[in-house]
């Protein structure tokens, strides 16, 4: 069941050629959208050109108005959406965007994997109309999902293009100098990296699992909550069973700087996956790399509707710890979740801290089977609800 995602002796910046199966699935879904029905809902306009399928919109009948007057759940004002282009990243793309860096084989035969990460201050829109002065890795929040394979040598060149000092602190096993910790290693160019300076972090890819990296400059809460974090995945040597994989970084934004979050989300934009449900295949394995970086709140949680998942805490074991439908995580806790959806339809996922759910941390999985357009009429219902996304 090992997957062929790693062609370890070649530079694989783009995973797509390695993950051929992924492409075919996307094509399949894209075809479904085309065969499916006219895009009555303007969902995924931005995404449609990017290789990620737009969900097939609506069935033949006009959208139902049953939603009016009902309050299915919290949402943003109708008809407004985030300008993903201005943001420079799109949560739907970000979901399956794994950054494998550049690889080459060292004389020893070991694989060296390298990335360059640039810290930059950037205004992003975290909810329709709400701008936030974020601090980013590579211009996006969360930062790129760095993905390597157990045992490789990793080298991350960090350039601080921000106006503030930053670091990259990886959760992993490494030397103190490589810890991205201010006060340790400044004399050797490490520690706190001042604006305009750079540093190369080098360490082994171990242990396998789902980890994270973030800035460790004081005040820590500010540096993290501003957006300096990302997922860091180390695949086991033998790989994991083939699946539709995605990254979910649970985060939040304290837009008025009162040390409490106003917007909660997975992958930054509140309610994004409500407006653009995550399209997943039926009866196929879905793997979620879930990382909680939420600042100012002690716990976060993940719950999925109509289903159960296998929970691999920190992803450091190949044996699941529990079959469940809800887990909680403190900050920096993370896990791999594996599940299959047996039936078509829209299935919500959200923080089971209801407050977070209603302040943006909610989304839907959309199960689409070309042969089952019945489910699409359910979809049409959602699209006419007050929070139905993308409508002009």
């Amino acid at each position: 069941m090992s997957k062929s995602r790693f062609v370890s002796d070649k530079a694989t910046k783009e995973p797509s050629d390695a993950a051929g199966r992924g492409i075919s699935r996307r094509r399949l879904l894209g075809g479904a959208a085309a065969v499916g029905v006219p895009a009555a809902i303007g969902l995924n306009q931005l995404v449609s050109g990017s290789g990620i399928a737009a969900p097939p919109a609506a069935a033949e009948q006009p959208p139902s108005h049953a939603g009016h007057g009902a309050f299915p759940h919290a949402s943003f004002a109708k008809g407004r959406s985030v300008d993903h282009r201005a943001n420079g990243f799109h949560p739907t793309e970000l979901l399956r965007d794994f950054d494998y860096g550049k690889t080459r084989r060292l004389a020893s035969g070991r694989v060296l994997r390298e990335w360059e990460i640039v810290a930059a201050d950037r205004e992003i829109e975290v909810a329709p109309g709400v701008k936030y002065e974020a601090w980013t890795y590579n211009g996006r929040v969360p930062g790129p999902t760095l993905r390597a394979r157990e045992g490789e040598l990793l080298r991350v060149r960090f350039v601080n293009g921000s106006e503030h000092p930053h670091t990259m602190h990886f959760h992993g096993i490494h030397s103190a100098l490589m810890d991205g910790m201010p006060g340790i290693g400044e004399s050797r160019g490490g520690g706190q990296i001042e604006p305009g300076e750079a540093f190369v972090y080098e360490f082994d890819a171990t242990p396998f699992g789902v980890h994270l990296y973030h800035c460790h400059v004081a005040p820590l809460a500010a540096h993290i909550s501003r957006g300096l974090y990302g997922a860091f995945i180390i695949d086991p040597k033998q790989g994991r069973p083939e699946a539709d994989e995605m990254v979910m970084v649970m985060n939040g934004f304290d837009t008025n700087f009162d040390l409490a979050n106003e917007v909660y989300a997975v992958n930054t934009v509140g309610f994004h996956y409500v407006n653009e449900p995550i399209v997943v295949p039926r009866e196929e394995l879905v793997r979620i790399y879930l990382v909680n970086v939420l600042e100012y709140d002690p716990v976060n949680s993940f719950h999925v509707h109509g289903n159960f998942f296998q929970h691999f805490p920190t992803g450091t074991s190949l044996q699941p710890a529990e079959l469940t439908d809800t887990i909680i995580q403190g900050q920096a806790q993370r896990a791999i979740l594996e599940l299959e959806f047996p039936l078509d339809g829209d299935y919500m996922f959200h923080a089971h801290v209801s407050e977070f759910a209603e302040l943006g941390w909610s989304g839907f999985f959309r199960l689409v089977n070309p042969s089952r357009l019945a489910a699409a009429s359910t979809a049409a219902l959602y699209c006419d609800l007050p929070w139905g996304g993308g409508q002009a």
Partner: protein, 422 residues
């Protein structure tokens, strides 16, 4: 003086008086114009993030809907981005647009399944991520402003204003039986009542002003209202006395000086009663406003207990009005007719109806603060007017019976006020 006159002559030249008045205005206009044309030389770009100051002027609740009226109180335009009710984002629309210019306002229609009797905290997120907070302490449907609603408010005004004040005036025959030595003490009692009312109204005004946009004056509106009311009443007083002096010279002048003659007591008593009625009426305007607003926003549960409380509380105001009518004793021939008493009762009580109407239909914290200030100013003016009649032969204001009277007045109002503290 000589030097000043000379300077004026040399500065003014041969210009007519109107030109001398206009020249500074023209110069001001030129200065402002050139300052603006040159883009404010020397000031440079303002640094720092935009200043967002927005106040919530009104909240209204309709089934499944919360209406918030926001006013931009700061120097920069503010753009509304999202609205959350009790920590849940809610769909909303803004007919007046999302952007609020300086001193402009907009109304947000928020879809939310609110439940009667619950409390709601709303935060509005602006485009810069700032928040504007509003709270609804007790949710209740905002009454539609139709005829029956205005009827209810009128009834409310009559309950808490007209009826109790009129009832309080029924003490007049009792007061008349009291010996003349009680006169000063009774007036002192009225002064005590009024002093407490003024303090109470002033504090309430300041409390409301704290929620009002600072750009419209905020707390200073209370003081401005008080000053305006005081000056206007003083002006009316002076005007009436001049007329009275023209017809009955000796009486008018005596009232003006607050001298103590039996003659003054009759005419002056009726006059003082009228003044007290006006002062209390202006105060009741503010009280009605507060009641109407609380009722409309659901903050006030209109229990029978509360109405009874207000009635007892305001009965003391009727007593304050008739105290000056008691007369000085032997020469009180002109007993005021029922018509006059009713008139006084209406002057003092009816403004509560008007206040309730305004408060329930078009509440505006700035206006409310101003009206409370007006009530305070009116009461202070009345106190100043009554005080001279309390003087004893030696011209003293404070002596045992007046001090006791004032303390009694304060105590009575305080104790009855406990019935209506919500």
């Amino acid at each position: 003086m000589e030097a000043g006159a000379r300077a004026e002559r040399s500065l003014g030249g041969g210009l007519p008086a109107w030109a001398l008045g206009v020249i500074p205005l023209v110069l001001i206009a030129v200065a402002i114009g050139s300052f603006a044309l040159l883009g404010g030389p020397g000031l440079g770009e303002r640094t720092g993030p935009p200043v967002e100051e927005v106040s919530v002027e009104q909240t209204a609740l309709h089934p499944g809907q919360i209406e918030l009226t926001l006013r931009n109180d700061g120097p920069d335009p503010v753009e509304v981005a999202q609205v959350a009710v009790n920590d849940a984002y809610a769909p909303f629309s803004a007919a007046g647009g999302l952007e609020i210019g300086r001193l402009g306002s907009t109304t947000l229609d928020i879809s939310y399944p609110w439940i009667e009797g619950e409390a709601y905290e709303i935060f509005v997120v602006t485009s810069s991520g700032g928040t504007i907070e509003a709270s609804i302490p007790v949710a209740a449907e905002t009454p539609e402003a139709d005829a029956s609603f205005y009827g209810l408010m009128a009834l409310l005004g009559i309950y808490v204003g007209v009826i109790p004040v009129s009832l309080g005036m029924l003490w007049l025959p009792f007061l008349r039986r009291l010996g003349s030595q009680w006169m000063a003490a009774l007036l002192a009692f009225t002064v005590g009542l009024l002093t407490f009312l003024a303090i109470d109204a002033g504090l309430e005004g300041l409390e409301i002003a704290a929620e009002a946009p600072a750009a419209f004056g905020g707390a200073s509106l209370v003081f401005a209202g008080a000053l305006v009311a005081y000056l206007v009443l003083a002006g009316i007083d002076a005007y009436l006395q001049r007329r009275a002096f023209a017809t009955k010279p000796e009486e008018g002048s005596l009232v003006a000086r607050g001298a103590t003659t039996a003659n003054r007591a009759t005419t002056g008593g009726a006059y003082l009663a009228l003044l007290v009625a006006i002062g209390i009426g202006l105060h009741n305007l503010g009280e009605g406003l507060a009641i109407g607003t609380s009722y409309a926003t659901g903050a006030l549960a209109l229990g029978a207990f509360l109405v009874v409380g207000f009635a007892i509380h305001n009965t003391t105001e009727g007593l304050a009005i008739v105290a000056p009518l008691r007369g000085g004793g032997e020469s009180d021939g002109a007993s005021p007719g029922i018509g006059r008493l009713l008139g006084l009762g209406l002057i003092a009580g009816a403004p509560a109806i008007l206040g309730a109407w305004i408060g329930a239909s078009a509440f505006n914290p700035s206006l409310a603060a101003l009206l409370f200030g007006v009530g305070v100013g009116a009461i202070v003016r009345v106190i100043v007017q009554i005080a001279p009649a309390m003087r004893d032969r030696n011209g003293r204001l404070l002596y045992p019976s007046t001090v006791a009277g004032m303390l009694a007045g304060i105590a009575v109002l305080y104790l009855t006020g406990l019935l209506v503290s919500v």
